[in-house]
């Protein structure tokens, strides 16, 4: 495949996907929760832009709706909810450095290579460049998973979970020109409901064990006293 044969819009899809991958790395290394939410919102914005471009390219008008939905939910509503949540949990100034940052980043880079290697055998797709986007979106999913493993803060883990969903959405949009609108609506509202439920759970966790650090959850409270 030659990049020069593709139009500018197709090339910009690549740039957007690569930037989304970079934002996943930023999420992984970011210490401040507030900044994490901002970065998550930017990732959602890239996704919405990319969906709109795919819609314009492939003449799929229903993707415009899905782009609009992504924009409203992932750029405006969910980040706003998360911001309100951490304000009410008084975590605005919370900082959590990764234990072994360089190691985690290298693991992230290894995951990118791994997902490329996994997707490599799928050569029977119609367009080769779609396959490459799939491998990067798989990498975004795995980086979200890595974030949930490496972080101990519950809110950070939830952001990791949502960026995993971003990766799945990206794969769907790039590989199959989007899922049926019904499915997409369902997933979008699932994520929204998940965000609400997580909020409720945070308060319960904090009320019962007085912290949001998940390492504390492995100990029995009886033992301490």
């Amino acid at each position: 495949m030659n990049l020069a044969q593709l139009g500018l819009l197709e090339q910009s899809i690549f740039v957007l996907v690569a930037l989304a991958l970079f934002l996943s790395f930023v999420l992984l290394s970011q210490a401040r929760l507030t900044t994490m939410i901002h970065v998550f919102a930017w990732q959602g914005f890239l996704l919405a832009l990319l969906t709109a471009i795919v819609a314009a390219l492939g003449d799929n008008p229903h993707l415009y709706i899905s782009a609009l939905l992504t924009f409203l939910l992932k750029v405006l509503l969910i980040p706003a909810m998360l911001h309100r949540l951490i304000r009410r949990l008084e975590l605005e100034r919370h900082q959590e450095r990764l234990q072994k940052q360089a190691l985690v980043m290298m693991a992230g880079a290894a995951l990118v290579i791994f997902s490329y290697w996994v997707v490599l055998p799928i050569t029977h797709m119609e367009l080769a460049h779609i396959r490459n986007v799939v491998s990067l979106s798989l990498a975004i999913v795995q980086l979200g998973m890595l974030l949930m493993v490496a972080r101990r803060q519950v809110v950070a883990q939830v952001i990791g979970f949502m960026s995993m969903e971003n990766g799945l959405f990206l794969a769907a949009v790039a590989a199959t020109a989007g899922m049926p609108l019904v499915v997409e609506l369902g997933i979008a509202f699932d994520v929204l409901v998940a965000a609400v439920l997580f909020g409720v759970f945070f308060f319960h966790i904090r009320d019962s064990i007085d912290t949001l650090d998940v390492d504390q959850l492995t100990r029995l409270s009886e033992e301490e006293r």
């Binding site: 790395f25 940052q101 980043m105 290579i113 080769a128 990067l136």
Partner: protein
């Protein structure tokens, strides 16, 4: 490729090196002036660095009692290594006779040679500040060099050559392409350039604050013409990174034939690009505060990660099947 034995071409190559040396203080002054404007000050004239250099060259050079001959030789080595490094970077035209020299790895090697002697000179007199500055400089450069090479390998992988002229020609030939790998390489190179030239988040060129200085600490013992050469070399290095970044990523306007008109256009183009880059640098220096030294590895890790992502996205997205 230009004719290797054509004396006019060689003259042009020499003139280009001379232009490099003469224009370097101007860029430093330009950045300083924009910065002053952003801070509501008038700022020194654009000719001030030239006056400073002239003053320093006229002054007597004092050398500490404990200094070895290396201390006297270091400014000349640093200056000439930086100037030779600058001569490998295409400034106005793509194909000069020096193009065969213009290998990126040679460039990095010359800069490393200059830095090595700078650090040695810092430690030579045996003052506490010199040693401290040298150790910090080595910390920064040891982390910056892999990041820079990673970014450069990304470029050379797309152009299939480590020769700067070929890379630039490749970018010119392929026209306007949105390459994610170039975007990442550009960001990585910008971060590395800021670290290597000792600009604000890493080092502050404007102060002599004991606890934070890096470059100033190493040249603290120098005076007179030695100091002038050291400062001039630092300015050339800033210009070198500026030219490298603007000519690799935005090579449009560079002369492809060695004739007066294209060369003039090339001069205007590079001046415009550097003015723009200077404004970007000044704005970022105004917005960002200096980092603690122990945060520098994290900063350079980011540069390395960007370079690595550039290479990965080149392999995954651009090469394809």
């Amino acid at each position: 490729m230009a004719d290797l034995l054509n004396p006019v071409d060689w003259l042009l190559a020499l003139l280009q090196v001379l232009l490099f040396a003469l224009a370097a203080p101007l860029l430093a002054a330009w950045v300083k002036r924009i910065k002053s404007r952003l801070q509501n000050r008038r700022g020194p004239s654009l000719l001030q660095p030239y006056r400073d250099l002239r003053k320093l060259f006229r002054k007597e050079a004092r050398v500490a009692n404990s200094a070895s001959p290396l201390f006297r030789a270091a400014p000349y080595v640093v200056f000439s290594a930086t100037l030779i490094a600058a001569s490998t970077v295409p400034l106005l035209a793509v194909h000069l006779p020096t193009a065969i020299l213009a290998d990126v790895i040679v460039l990095v090697g010359f800069l490393a040679l200059a830095r090595f002697f700078l650090a040695l000179a810092g430690m030579d007199v045996g003052s506490a500040f010199g040693g401290m500055g040298a150790s910090r400089e080595m910390l920064i450069s040891a982390l910056a060099e892999p990041a820079m090479l990673m970014a450069i390998f990304t470029l050379t992988m797309s152009a299939h050559s480590t020769n700067l002229s070929s890379v630039i020609q490749h970018v010119l030939d392929s026209g306007l392409l949105l390459r994610p790998s170039f975007l990442f390489a550009l960001l990585a190179l910008l971060l590395v350039a800021v670290a290597e030239t000792g600009r604000i988040p890493i080092d502050n060129p404007a102060t002599h604050l004991e606890l934070t200085m890096v470059h100033e600490a190493m040249i603290l013992e120098y005076s007179g013409r030695h100091l002038a050469l050291m400062e001039w070399a630092a300015q050339i290095k800033l210009l070198l990174y500026g030219v490298l970044i603007s000519n690799i990523f935005l090579p449009w306007g560079m002369a492809q034939q060695l004739e007066p008109l294209p060369l003039l256009i090339g001069l205007a183009a590079i001046a415009g690009k550097l003015m723009l880059l200077g404004v970007v640098l000044a704005v970022s220096e105004t917005l960002v505060a200096k980092m603690r030294l122990f945060r520098v590895p994290a900063y350079l890790n980011l540069a390395f990660l960007l370079g690595l992502l550039g290479m990965l996205s080149h392999v995954i997205l651009e090469v394809g099947v």
